[in-house]
């Protein structure tokens, strides 16, 4: 089936260079990073390009997913009809319950502040799945180890690329960067916009910041 491209903008297509958030800071330092995501609900259109890109980049089996876009709505009537979209994925807590409860130490935080799982150490007790207040962990049906979003640290970050979801998003609703670097896109955005995080009262210090949808109308 042939689906030719549709452009809304007559002239915009040619020079539509997507501004890409830069990962590399001035100094190539391996430590001291605290990687985080900002999800802008005012920009998300619910296309799920992020979750598809995530699945592809990280070979996520079909039965499970690392990243879900949760749609809520419709709200409003007629012209005002709109939906709200939320991102559901690992929030890379600074005090992560999964790391605290894992009996074998398979759950860990790397030097850049990314929470991940050593599949080989995981015995599959699923204590971490029960402990995670964000409900984003699953048992990989192939490896039988627990897995979840690792901000693409094992795949794309190593190659100096952005996480798959960040690059795939057509509206730049996901911004990625280092909280410790005041010049990072994440830091700039957090200075400029009001954000919130889920379940902070549990003391988990999550690092998925969310710009509230406000009315939730697209662009």
């Amino acid at each position: 089936m042939k689906l030719s491209r549709r452009h809304f903008l007559a002239g915009g297509a040619a020079c539509a260079a997507i501004p890409v958030a830069t990962l590399v800071t001035a100094e190539e330092e391996k430590t001291g990073k605290n990687l985080a995501l900002v999800f802008d609900q005012t920009k998300c259109i619910g296309c799920e390009a992020c979750s598809q890109a995530c699945r592809e980049a990280n070979n996520v089996p079909a039965q499970v997913s690392r990243l879900n876009i949760v749609r809520e709505g419709p709200y409003g009537e007629g012209n005002d009809k709109h939906y709200r979209f939320d991102r559901q994925s690992c929030v890379h807590c600074e005090t992560a319950p999964c790391i605290a409860v894992c009996p074998t130490g398979a759950c860990f935080r790397d030097e850049d502040g990314v929470v991940d799982v050593t599949a080989n150490r995981c015995v599959g007790c699923q204590y971490c799945i029960a402990a995670c207040p964000y409900r984003v962990r699953y048992v990989d049906p192939e490896t039988k180890a627990v897995d979840k979003c690792d901000l693409c640290r094992k795949t794309r970050l190593k190659e100096g690329k952005l996480p798959a979801c960040v690059e795939a998003c057509p509206t730049q609703a996901v911004v990625f960067g280092d909280l410790n670097d005041p010049k990072s896109d994440v830091a700039k955005l957090l200075r400029a916009k009001q954000t919130y995080r889920d379940k902070v009262s549990l003391g988990t210090k999550p690092k998925l910041y969310k710009v509230p949808h406000g009315k939730g109308k697209v662009i």
């Binding site: 409860v101 074998t104 130490g105 015995v123 699923q126 029960a130 549990l202």
Partner: protein, 320 residues
Amino acid sequence: MDNAISSALHFETMVWPWPIAIYLFLAGVSAGAVLIGIAVKLYRESRGQIGYESGIVKGMALIAPIAVIIGLAILIIDLTKPLEFWKMMIYWNPSSVMFWGVMLLSVYIMVLFLFLAAVFYTPLMAIDRRYPIVGTVLALLKRFEKPMQTSMIFLAIAVGAYTGFLLSALKAFPIFNNPVLPILFLVSGASSGAAATMLFGMLCFKEKADSQDIHFVHKIEKPVLMTEIFLLFAFFLGLVFAGGVSAEAARVALMGDFWSYIFWGGVVFCGMVLPWLLQWFSPRSLTHKPGFVAALCVLSLSGVFALRHFILYAGQMTAI
């Protein structure tokens, strides 16, 4: 109704299914049996009787190791990688309750066997006639019976409470994340241990239904049951007072669908009210019948069995 049951057993926030509840139950039975067995042993020794000759102590020797080993086996089978359970022994994470549980249970099982060997020193010495080395080892163990007994009391309390701490570390579930839970599990474990030792003492070791030891266990059982009722009361009242999601969790658990019936019918009625009513209002001729005492034991065991399932499932139903 099928739908209601299916939705009570499979829901979105559920992570741990029924094998975990059975493990929680069996670990509690084992710890409770050890506590009751040691209490009976001390009681007999204080009256100049020999500890190991009691059917209750023998029942403890049978139930305590079997329950904990079956429980652990269920736990291991329930892993997604059962064959890699040994990694729990070599990779350590001191911040994990489960890590401490693995360590605790290993020590518990080890000391339990050594302690039982010391308690049953005299009958076991029969083996010494064929294998003299056994006698040497037993004699050594017998010397450490007292310190082992003291450590067994602490280990059993720790195991009984551990199953509660295992759940109370889960901060997203108000019913689990509750300081009363470990104490509740310890106390209900003790009452299940009492029931199990009496039941198996009578079934396997010819303990009389109106023996002095059974009377003694009944005497311990009453305050234990009272404490259990008060703890359950404090547990849910605390949840209600906490408000918000906690109160909602209590509401769903006590006034919801399937699991509230298990609680009121299984835990409260079968496990507590019915045995007590039967004990009080039955004629003395009946209460001394082994079948009657055994029935009461089965009732209170099923009450604790229901409590573990109720807490595990109802607890996972409401998450923050």
